[in-house]
Symmetry: C2
Subunit: 266 residues, 2 copies
């Protein structure tokens, strides 16, 4: 019977892959890649192909979610399913693992560095103090869901930080920017009137976390609306109550205004 290895490639490039991962990929009969929910920053799938010495079949969403492409291949031999970040962050990938196990295919997960923790680390924010994460979608005509804003507010009102992931439309080459996300937050505040996003609210942005060109920035909305974070991928954090070390970290790591680390503001 076959084998299916789920490989999280992490966030950087091919030299951020572990020896174990590279060896596993070299041993596989076939490697499938899913690059529509995330992507590597420092390398392309072509670079990865050179390192592992074989071609990677790029999967379309339909092939992962509806078809048996990967499962059928894994019945016949040793197959890898690779994604940027950590492979198990998407429900559809968990579902793929369940389906494989139901077919009697042996499965293994090689974890990758994930934006869920690396973004906190880049900003110096404590992972313990994050509430649930949210994703902001690109606005559609006539459809602006505000539930992400409500979830951020729920975290914030309990003193917790929120990791805000931004919509990716890989097929269209569209990646939501931190500036767009800040605009979305300001507009949602106008619509909901919860008093969370004001002129004196600190918003954090992180770009290309885990790559050589990583950039983090933090400041008031007026600054963050125009802050040039460079190419994608971007993420945003709306902090809750800052511990003084966190406040200092935002000043030192991300250029936040020094007054946020004043005692009376903590």
């Amino acid at each position: 019977m076959g084998e299916l290895i789920f490989v999280g490639l992490g966030l950087g490039g091919v030299d951020d892959l572990s020896a174990r991962t590279v060896r596993a990929l070299k041993e596989c009969d076939q490697v499938f890649g899913e690059f529509y929910t995330s992507k590597l920053i420092d390398s392309t799938p072509d670079d990865l192909e050179k390192v592992i010495g074989k071609s990677i079949v790029r999967l379309k969403r339909r092939e992962v979610e509806e078809e048996e492409t990967v499962i059928e291949a894994a019945k016949m031999g040793k197959v890898a399913f690779v994604t940027a970040g950590d492979t198990m962050a998407a429900t559809t990938h968990v579902d793929l693992k369940i389906r494989a196990m139901e077919e009697g295919i042996q499965t293994t997960v090689l974890y990758g560095v994930s934006i869920f923790t690396a973004c906190a680390s880049a900003l110096g924010l404590q992972p313990y103090k994050f509430g649930r994460a949210v994703t902001i979608p690109f606005p559609e005509p006539g459809y602006t869901p505000l539930s992400p804003f409500e979830n951020i507010y729920e975290n914030w009102s309990r003193g917790l930080h929120t990791l805000v992931l931004l919509d990716i439309r890989e097929e269209e080459g569209r990646y939501m920017t931190a500036n767009q996300a800040v605009k979305w937050l300001i507009d949602a505040e106008k619509a909901k009137g919860l008093g969370m996003i004001t002129e004196s609210t600190i918003i954090c942005a992180a770009a290309r976390v885990g790559s050589r060109t990583e950039k983090v920035s933090a400041g008031y909305p007026s600054k963050m609306l125009d802050e040039d974070m460079g190419p994608p991928l971007h993420a945003v954090v709306v902090p809750g109550k800052l511990h003084f070390v966190e406040a200092y970290a935002l000043v030192k790591f991300a250029g936040a205004p020094e007054e946020i680390a004043d005692d009376q503001n903590l």
Copy 2:
């Protein structure tokens, strides 16, 4: 001026290190290791020394938190500070980075795979659906803080999962087990009477996540009290409301009872 590189070693062993990490460590003049808040499962610090070709200075808590050992070394050359998991998960390590920057030392973070996301992945639970994480401390005579239980309840009442990290007393060689954590949860429920931990509550345990001997298990408290998870490190998850793919995943990956995936229970 010097350089200080924060290296997250991840959760497995030396062959889970990236080429970039190994190269950086080989280039360093000195490598400091902090192994009292976490540790690698598949390898020892001695194994790591062999791979990088130099000795690792094992730091005591005092040396990280109060003394300038690392900072003074980093003023003089290229220095690494290595930990299992992700280096920035501890406030004291963020503080170390701040202090280094204040001394004009160049800092870099190489992210490692962290239990904060890998534990969710191992169980097939969605990272988006986790509220804040908690840590359960070993009980001290006359001191049993129940705030972790209250935080789990706050997540649970919102339908969110909680990652429960378990106390490590590395100096004493004591690592809290999943069984002890389940007992703690049952006792806390008796003390608080919130109706969260009942005979029909699913509790998840994960041992040595990211290692070759990883084991996950999920089930009712009666099972989890005695489930043999093997050697440390252990972690526990108290799930909130399960999506049906998550419920199936707990059945397939972790041996949870099949009835939790019945439609009427979701």
